[in-house]
Every structure is written in C-alpha cells, then in structure tokens.
Symmetry: D2
Amino acid sequence: MKDEPRFRGIFCPHVVPLDADGAIDEAELRRYVDWLIERGVDGLYPNGSTGEFTRFTAAERRRIVEVVADQAAGRVPILAGAAEANLRETLAACEHYAKLGVAAVAIVSPYYYKLGAEGVYAYFAEIGRHSPVDVTLYNIPMFASPIEVDTARRLAEECDRIVGIKDSSGDLPFMMRLIDAIRPSRPDWSFLTGWDACLFPMLQVGCDGGTHASSGVAPELTRALYGATRAGQLDEARALQHRVARIFDAFFAAADFPDGFRIGAALRGFGNGRGRMPRSASQRDAEPALRAQLAELLRQEGLL
Amino acid sequence: MKDEPRFRGIFCPHVVPLDADGAIDEAELRRYVDWLIERGVDGLYPNGSTGEFTRFTAAERRRIVEVVADQAAGRVPILAGAAEANLRETLAACEHYAKLGVAAVAIVSPYYYKLGAEGVYAYFAEIGRHSPVDVTLYNIPMFASPIEVDTARRLAEECDRIVGIKDSSGDLPFMMRLIDAIRPSRPDWSFLTGWDACLFPMLQVGCDGGTHASSGVAPELTRALYGATRAGQLDEARALQHRVARIFDAFFAAADFPDGFRIGAALRGFGNGRGRMPRSASQRDAEPALRAQLAELLRQEGLL
Amino acid sequence: MKDEPRFRGIFCPHVVPLDADGAIDEAELRRYVDWLIERGVDGLYPNGSTGEFTRFTAAERRRIVEVVADQAAGRVPILAGAAEANLRETLAACEHYAKLGVAAVAIVSPYYYKLGAEGVYAYFAEIGRHSPVDVTLYNIPMFASPIEVDTARRLAEECDRIVGIKDSSGDLPFMMRLIDAIRPSRPDWSFLTGWDACLFPMLQVGCDGGTHASSGVAPELTRALYGATRAGQLDEARALQHRVARIFDAFFAAADFPDGFRIGAALRGFGNGRGRMPRSASQRDAEPALRAQLAELLRQEGLL
Amino acid sequence: MKDEPRFRGIFCPHVVPLDADGAIDEAELRRYVDWLIERGVDGLYPNGSTGEFTRFTAAERRRIVEVVADQAAGRVPILAGAAEANLRETLAACEHYAKLGVAAVAIVSPYYYKLGAEGVYAYFAEIGRHSPVDVTLYNIPMFASPIEVDTARRLAEECDRIVGIKDSSGDLPFMMRLIDAIRPSRPDWSFLTGWDACLFPMLQVGCDGGTHASSGVAPELTRALYGATRAGQLDEARALQHRVARIFDAFFAAADFPDGFRIGAALRGFGNGRGRMPRSASQRDAEPALRAQLAELLRQEGLL
C-alpha cells in the first residue's frame, strides 16, 4: 500500500459520440479523447453516468473502453465504469478492462432496487475480493443505492483492492466524514467529487480531485480551478468555481441529464449532440435556440 | 378498439428460480409456472421488478420469456417485461416476444436517470409507434422516472398500441385521476395496480386487476381477494386485504426487495430461495431464523 | 367505551373570514357557520390547517372556537383544533374548549421540529392523560411529524381519552393498517380522512368520514359523496369523487394552501377571500383571472 | 450601505434554561449569556431553532430577548429571532426588539405551510419594507419553506433593511450561488451558515461566520475553528472541523433536536437539561447513560 492517493486531479467522464444511426462513432470518440488529453485532463472515465453506460449494450460498453484505452495509449490513466447486470458479469468486465490496462475500474452502487447498507457492503466486498484490478466505489445517491460512510469504511479496511471513492452527492459534510473515517488507515485512497458546483471546497476539505461532466465541455476551466486551488490561489479558485458552476448549471438544466453535456461536446466539435433517447416534437423544436444559448455561454468564456 | 379492458384479474410477476451456480433453473421455473396457473392466476408477468429483470443479461431475459411462454402454452396471457438498454434493443425484444405469442409487453419507465415528463412521453410514444405487439406502461416511481397522469393521457390518445398501465405507487388519488383521464376515450385500457397493500380499494375505484409480488407466494389469497371484491362481498374482501397486506409486509421487509419473495417462492416449493446479489456474513447468519418466521406466517394462513 | 365510532360523516375544517384590516370578521364567520350547517355538514372543525391556526394568536384561536361553538349552538358537534406552543398551553386550551362544549379537540402532531416516533408518542400520551375532553390525533406528514401506526396503536390502547385520528396523508395502505391495528380493541375510535381526493376509497376501507377543505367550498358535493357511499350507490359515489377531486385540485393549486379555499369561501359568499399572508405584485395581478376561473368551475358544478 | 459585511464570526443560537416547573430560569440564562461571551462568541442568537422559539409563548419570546439583551449589555451584538404568528405580530416584535437595541432580527421563512417562492418573497419583502431594525433571513429547508437563491437576490436588491442570511441547509453549492448572486451588489450582506458540520468549507467559499448549536456546548471549538480559518491555518482548521463535527453529530443524534444541545448546556453547567417536550418512560430511562456518554465526549475534548 502506498502512502499517497492513487488518483489525483481532473478525470473526465465523457459522453460517447454517436453517428446518425445512433451507433458509436469511434472516429469522433478517438478525436475527443485526444482533445481532452491535450486540454490537460488527468484521466479519462468512460462508462460513467455522463457516458450513459446504461443506454449501451454490454458489448458496446466493452468496445467503448477498448477504444478509449487504445487511443489514450497510456498518456493518462483510465477509470473504467464496469458495472454490469450482476456480480458475475461485472467481474468479467473487470477482467477484460484489466487486460486493457486501465488504472482502475469504477463500480456504481447497485441501482434500480434500493439496497440497504448491508446489501451494498456485501456487493462491493465481493467485487473487492475477486477483482483483478483496483476498484473505486461510485456513490451517486440521486440515482443509486447510497453508500454510507460506515459501509465505505468497512470496505476500506477489508479490501486492499478498493482504492477510492467517487461521490456525486455534493454533500461536503458527507465527504469530510468519509475522509476522516478512511484516510488515517488508508492513505492510498482517493476521494474524488463528482459534483461540479463544489469542486473548490471539496478540494479544500481534502478531496484529491474531481470527475465532472463539465470537464467534457470546458476542461480548460476545471483544470484551471484544480490548479489554482492546489497552488493556493484561493481568490482565483473561487472565481473559477463560479464560472464552472455557471457552465454546469446551464448544461445540466438544458435537457434530461446528460443530454446537455452531449450538446456541449458537439459545440466543442465532437459528435452531433444527439443521444439515444427519443425526443418529442416540442423538444426537437426547442433545440436550436437551446444550442445557441449554450454556445453563447461558451463564447462568453472564450471557449468558442 | 374493444370497449372492454384487455387485461383483468391477477397477473403474477414471479421470481426466476436459480440453480446452485446462479444460473436460471429452467425446470424449476416450468414447475413454478404450472403451479401458479393451477392456483388460478389470470396471467404471468416475467421480467418484472419481482423478476429482477435488471440482474439478468439481455439473453437471459429472452430465455426467461421463452420458457414461460412455452410452459404456459396459451393457458393464461403473458405480459412480458421488455425494457432493454435503449429504444432499439427494447423494440427488438418486443418483436421477439411478439413472435412468442405474448399478450402484451410491459415497459418500465426509464430508470437510473430521472427523466422529465416530456422525455418519458417521447420514449413511450416511440415505442407505441413501432412495437409490433400491444404495450402496457409500467409506473414505479420509487425506482424509475414517474409517469404523470397527463403523460399517460397523451399516450392513450395518440397510440392505439398502448393498452394499459401498471402502477406500483399505491397512490389511490393518482390511480383515480388516471382512470378519469383515460377511460372515457380508451375503454379498452387496463389499469393494474402493483401495490399489494391496496388491491381492494384500487379495485373499488375502477382498477381491472393487480400484478403483485405477493401472488408468487400466496396466489390463493390475492385470487380470493380479487374474486370477493368482484362478487361484491366487501367485508370478506376487506378481511382478505388485511391478510394480503400482512404477507406483503413480511416478505417485503424480510430482505432487500425482491429477495424476500424469492424466499417465499422457495417456501412454497420452488427454487432454493437464493438470488444473484451477494450477501454479507451477517445476512447469511440471519437467514435461517428469517425463513422460519416467514414459514410460520404461511402456516398461519394455511399455505404450508 | 362505546362500541361505535364517536364521529361520523363530513366535518368541515373551515377558513376564518377576515375584515379589511385582517381582523377576524365574526359576523361573516357566524353566517358561514350557519350556511355550512344548513348545507348538511355533520360537524365543524375550527383551527385546522384550512383554518390557518398557526397564523392567529393564541387569543384569536380561542375566540374563533368561542364564536363557532356559540353560533353552532349544539346543532352539530365541534372538533376544535387545540394545539398551542407547548403542552401546558395546549392543555389550557383543551380545558377552555371543554367548557365551551366541543365534542372533542384535535391535536396536530408536533411540527417545525421533526420528532421521532417516541417523542410523538410521549407528547400525545401526556395530552391523553390530562385532557378534560376527548382528543383526536391529527396526522399530516407533509407539514408535521408523522404519527406512525404503532404510535397510534399504543395511544389507543393506553388512553381512553384519545378517541380517533384524522389522517391527511391520503395513503390508503396506511389507513388500512391503522384500522386493522386499532379497531378491534377500540371500536369507539373514529378514523377520518383529510385528503379530499380519496374520500370514496377511504370510506370503502372503513373510514368513518372526512374533514376536507373542499367541504368549505362545496359541502353539497362532499355530503353527497358521503351519502352515496353509505347508501351503497358506488357508481354514483365514484362519479362524485371525480367531481370533488376536480374542485380540490383546482382550489389547492390556486395559491399557497389554504388561500385557494379562502377564495372559495368568498365565491360562496363568505368573507373577502383575503388571508393574512402578504402577496407580491404579481400575485395580486393574477388574482382576478384566478377568481374568475375558480368561479367558472363552481358554476359548472351548479354551485354558483 | 457599508462595503463590509455587518456580521462576522460565531453567533450562538442558545437554548433557554428552564426551572423544575418548565418556566424560564432567568438567573441561569443570565449566567449562560455571561459564560458564552467570556468564551468568545461574537454574538448571541436568542429565539433560534436551538432556542426552541416555537415552544414558548409570544410573551416568553419577548422576555427571553429582554433578558439576553440586558445581560449582554452591548458586549456582543444580538440577532433576535422575531418570527411570530403573522406579519403584524412579527413587525410588532421587530419594533420591541429594536427598542432593546438588538443589532438585527432574524426571521425564519414561513413554516408549517410550505410556501412557493413568490409567497416567501412577498412575506420578507413586506417585513423589509416595514421593519424598524435590520433583518436577516433564516433559511432552514428541513423545517420551513425554502428560500431560493433568486428570492434572496430580489430581496437584497429591493430592501436595504435586509442585510444578510443564515442558511442551515449545509449545502455548499447553494451558499456559493447565494454569495455569487448577492455580494457584488450588496457588499454589506452577511452570509452565515447554520450547519455545524461544514463551517470550515463554508468560510472558505466566502461565508462570514456561523450560528451553530454546537457553540452553546463547545464555543471554544467553534471559535478556534473560525480563528484558524481566518488566520489561514488550514490544516489546523480541518482538524478542528473534524472535532466540531463529532460534537455536533453526537448532540444532534442524542435526542429529538434540540434536546441534545440542552443536555450539552447542562453538562457545561447551565440549566437542568430538561426541555418542554414530554418524554416517554423509555426516553427517561435512557437518559442517564446518554448523559454519561455525552459527558465523556466533552471530557475527551478537554471541555469537562
């Protein structure tokens, strides 16, 4: 066990560009990977919530990680979302991603059914016991069964393979309790926040970095915010946080998540902005004005 | 369009027995199908929430419907849960199930991501437009994006292929509003409740039947409750509702849903009671006492 | 202890007309009491949520009950809301209302702070022990600490003075569990529903009546619904429930509760429709159109 | 308008010691005020949620502020909770407190009824228009109608008399949005957090101070945390935040809020620890062990 967190900085949970038929547009995905790395992201996070993992088939999810890992070619570490329908399938995905050289897998807490704390623990403990690759927990209580502080602590104490957590609750006291409960015995754990609107204070209380949908639209800003905070330029960091929050709020509110961030990727030049969910006539009619408004916001930030 | 609801009575959303390795135990599933039909259920509902559709692979979900349809052999209608990762996969499943002769498919509202009303509408409208088999909506707001009254009404008016809704909210005013909004223009729609604890009043306000996890454990009771209500034996129905609620509460609270109902199926003689989710040591230790307590409840009802 | 519920039928939790200065308009309140009794309500319920008990001073709350009791003059029983700042003040109010001859007091569960079940129990047990007049519990979980089934059961078993519950959750399974838990040992308990949109099924599962804001606007409809249900005219009752729900939905949505029902009383001829909460310019501007729309709804029902 | 926030530092929302009969123990309250000031609190906050303002009569609330103001005698500023049953009573309280020389009043958002944003705005705008003393808004969405960012911004722009907000949500992104929306045009506004577990990051994002129940039990810690943060001793501040959170969690969980903090005051030497809410036999039986456990926690912190 190292005495430093494994993962630090800005990891990008990116969308997957689709072609006109809704199939994965691998060429665009590769261009997007290159661009994100060139913009300075510290890692990539395919098959996250932003990446709409639930809307791809199991085979497609594997293909996405294959393409991303191949294109990144070791330039940045990859956290690969690996949750599948059940434990057996999830472990098979972990094995596959291990062979592709990902730095770790990220496993979202069981969703659809709302599990109690003991069931969440049992699920991750089994993964921690059998995964051939390091595992990060993924807590997103608005979509999935919550991972409680005590559950994470038990897993940290019992499973060397589990090396961190991404938390998308945006709940500062929760994050502080997590860090207080785990860091003393597991200095190698990484604590990553997934709630874009509070990256700055999260870093201030001890987080190691963030995995934000906004990084797929404005990686320049999230990277600058991370850098300013690390450099102790707190006034600059506060101002950048304000700008990141404006971006996040606008793209989050633009459509059912994560479709706004898909439009954002398109505005930055990647993909056509269309996801897999059907849209109603009124949604289609509203889109040109919506795109224009989001583009204007990016222009104000000097990103277009 | 007929002027009578397509589906009436007690449909059973059953668990899928697994073998010691966690694979589908087809022989047990077939025996269970026979037993449920012999006990009088009016229809079967594979790949529902009770059937843990999210924990099977896409191939397994198809196999489950194949086995159930083959074994039922037309004795009762089948509502086949057909939600897959995205619209294309869902429509492919609808086509497959249509060929198997199911009476209709049941499509759960999009889950994980919480969609707004317009997104829910767009999703079902597209399914309604392209499905080769009749479709029932499945509203379960504790797990999935809610289907609002107005959304259901729009779908009823625009899509002949959509022929009903299963609602698992247990919210009587919601159901009454649904019926008031839709029945006048779509007398062929079926309104089915999925909340076991209020089948009796749901039938009183105009529901056509129910799809209850309890029917997999005590089909005798849910069938008797349905029959008594239809026959106007209201005191008898009220007393039966009390007994159904006791069964439901006990098996619902026994474990993370739907594991209690899996134990219930095992107590009635089908499968080993073990699901696909890992259990912790303390959960395993607690199970014998739990099974004994649930068995005692069934004995009190004369079901063991 | 009697073997029949103490309270049956439609109790009206009415608003209190105010004059142009916001003071209680006693003359209008007296006229309103007469009118409600003439329209057939089975009882009156001053100082309920509809009556905005929190927005009057302690002295004003007493005056309201004095006026209502004096004007009713024994024609119908009175359930007087008696919750004050603390136990001592609440018991003093109970004593005062007992002298005025009210049939019972109604005590809302502690609000603002959210109490656990044991705290809710302790509060009502102490009231049950010391009140000189019969007490009904008032459960309204959207505003106050929830009263759980087991808490109500303990209170029913231990406190003869506690003789019923008004539940405004609209949760049918909850009401059925309450009745199942309490009626066998306390046949004198009354179970009243306060959720207008489900009076019909509530009566079907065993409720004794309802206390509905809608009764202050359209007592003709709630009384007719109650009567039809009691007479076994179920189709008629279902149709009336639909009409009551339309009234309720419209007046509930018209403004922050209960201001819509205050407008409703004004439309029926009582008071000026103005409450004590300030309104913004845009709220004031919107009111004429809102009143016209609500009036039209009442006209459609033949009530204007 | 000044260009600096009016209120900074640690304001203590204290409990009110009661005698054996449940009456206000003025002598203990005076001793407690002295002790808090001696421990360095920057201000006092009578009639807050910790002060159980809803459980006192209107006359008692006035008496509490009179005693606190008289005893403080200008040594520290006083934020006096002034919410009464309605606008007229609230403004009368504001006038009374103005004469007592309080620095400002604090007005909780309307509670019991859940108001929409426009109603919340209208209420505070009217207070801001007529109050003879400066006003701070009090947002505590777990108990009262939420004050949205846009509502606070409108009030800041329109009402000079409104000079700040206390927010007890613990929601960092919300606080950052508030500050971003208001500080540019109102540099005199104070942003105070009322959620003890995140004082440190709240100060980092720009809050001016905190009003914490914990300050009534361990003012030494909250003051030290404030001081360390202001001095830029961030590691020290982080460690102190951890200790404050432990205190807060323990006293918050000890009983229905705020009874744990009442016990805390008693452990520090003020009052008997008994509030006005009745306790059940089991609550009474559990208290000695609970007090011992809380005392041990204070001993570990060197506070006993």
